[in-house]
Symmetry: C2
Subunit: 334 residues, 2 copies
DNA sequence: CTGAAAGCGCTTACAG
DNA sequence: CTGAAAGCGCTTACAG
């Protein structure tokens, strides 16, 4: 087991003060070219790595950005994390990832974030409000998705608009009996609001029994079963997200019904899987890359400027027509 | 912005030494019940959180476990991470997650791990060898999957056996012309070896043209297309993993062929999606929960015992028969 | 351009 | 049971 190298030891071997070594390593211009070179070479050959905990302690900043999400396993979030990770790295930050489920308490995470000197937080939690203590401590929090009652900057996609596009597209295709399948937060979910608005603008009603709860593949599966048991099952279904839609597809196909000929379907998110379903899943795409970049940019700017102003970015969704909505007949990829 | 609380300030307010406060907070039995109570109450009301960087510096251990994986977005890995995360938490460790792609160099990650005082590493990298510097520094590394040429303890599933089960099952169903679809590392991939062995034990040959490369959904899709373009396409396909199989399903169904009537399919991993495909995907299940627990246990034991002995755990796979392999005719979930 | 010194917030022997 | 002191490894004014 190699003994840990420190600045002092390097300084000792070189016969210079360890502040000089520190300066040389941090690339300060105050240090002689020759001296720096000697120091760097020795440090390198000794495999020296600065102790980041000591540095964090002294500088009162850690280089950590906290990233909080509901679950490692939700497909859209995992794709978002993948995009956030390199964006953080590019700016010299290290992501500290936490997951949180809805009924877990945040206090452990909050302590950890505070205790580690995390410089800022990206929150994708369903409810951001437990992060208020951090905000009060002066730790910037940027939220993925708007949440009422919280003074955080946020990046969101215009889900209401995306849902409107889905509803309008269905209406255009001539469907009348439609359903919304997914979480709807007592009617406050923008996807439900937008979908309903599109139908209403086309003179179509969305009765309560055609609004069914369900989350994820399993929720989509059972929710869709309920819809199919209705005396008049819906002709077209807009799902909360693609995972929900995939669960719904299974329920439809298990009954021997065809998509889109018997039931048309549109999802939300545009996860990678959509293209590989049969039929390929039409969906409302979230601009994931832009979301990640905006979150990271916004946070970094808040950190460096220390400006406490709230900022909001609302990104545009895009309707991606594949096979499941019925606008195209043949099977194809894309 | 609240001023940060420190032990000293608490001690000052209470008129005791700050070492007493430290002891009280860390729950040492050396401190008077009454004193502790007072201290804890004040600390609590002041919102005191210990500075973990200072603690790490002093104790020379950070409470961090590094977790390295190829990608946030590979489905099986994300499921594994989800299981590792709580197991780590339960033991009082914080996971520091890193992703690494194959041609990226590890040096940044290695510095970070060393510099942050990470106490141990779980590596799911495709190649663990760049982690040797950590091992030499005395930082325990436990690998998910065996890798040759590296002295790390590992947890692996018996992929060769799992593949054998898939091949044997296909043989039993009477298929003769079969294919292996997926990465095979010049024939060294245990899945290919096991599959081939099963066929061979049943007197069936696996010609080279029925071994096709392909990774993930896209790789499975294009790889399967190649197989279907053969003058005699395979009757049954064993895929590297479920994502690959899902890509393959799409290619098969796009041609208007039926699964399993025209082409039978078995995947590997048993990701959540399998149950929701139509037809539901038969697969070789990895015991994911057990894998995560073994990885974490093994690492924690190595850390606390400081014993440098290598340990190996090989877990049993399980063949899960659903609809895509042809053993069952009707559509159903499970 | 280089060195001596203070101090970040904590833990941990060591006295008492 | 409590206090005084040293020190983890680093950075950063401050002198020179």
């Amino acid at each position: 087991m190699a003994e840990t190298m420190t600045l002092k030891k390097i300084a000792g071997q070189l016969g210079v003060s360890y502040s000089t070594v520190s300066l040389a390593i941090s690339g300060s211009p105050k240090v002689n070219q020759q001296t720096r070179k000697t120091v760097l070479e020795l440090a390198d050959s000794l495999g020296y790595r600065p102790n980041l905990n000591a540095r964090s302690l002294k500088q009162k900043k850690s280089g950590f950005i906290g990233v909080i999400f509901p679950d490692f396993s939700q497909t859209y979030y995992r794709e978002l994390m993948r995009d956030i990770y390199p964006a953080l790295k590019e700016r010299g930050y290290t992501g500290l990832f936490f997951t949180i489920d809805d009924n877990e308490d945040f206090s452990g995470i909050v302590s950890e974030i505070q205790g580690r000197g995390v410089e800022g937080v990206i929150s994708g939690a369903h409810d951001h409000s437990p992060l208020m203590p951090l905000y009060k401590l002066g730790i910037p929090v940027v939220a993925y998705r708007r949440t009422a009652g919280v003074p955080f900057s946020y990046v969101d996609v215009d889900r209401e608009k995306g849902a409107y596009m889905a509803g309008a597209h269905f209406a255009e295709l001539g469907y009348k009996r439609m359903a919304y399948l997914g979480t709807h937060f007592e009617g406050r979910e923008p996807r439900l609001i937008g979908f309903k608005a599109a139908l209403s603008d086309n003179g179509i009603d969305l009765p309560d029994q055609y609004v069914v709860d369900g989350q994820g593949m399993e929720g989509g599966f059972t929710g869709m079963q309920k819809l199919l048991e209705l005396s008049e099952p819906p002709r077209a279904v807009f799902a909360f997200n693609d995972s929900t839609a995939i669960g719904a597809m299974r329920a439809i196909q298990m009954r021997g019904l065809r998509i889109p000929q018997d039931v048309a379907l549109i999802g939300f998110d545009n996860i990678l899987e959509c293209r590989y379903m049969t039929p390929a899943l039409s969906t409302v795409a979230q601009p994931r890359q832009a979301t990640a970049e905006n979150l990271v940019n916004m946070l970094c700017e808040t950190i460096s400027s220390k400006s406490a102003g709230m900022r909001h970015v609302l990104l545009e969704p895009e309707l991606i027509i594949r096979e499941s909505c019925g606008a195209r007949a043949s099977l194809q990829t894309s």
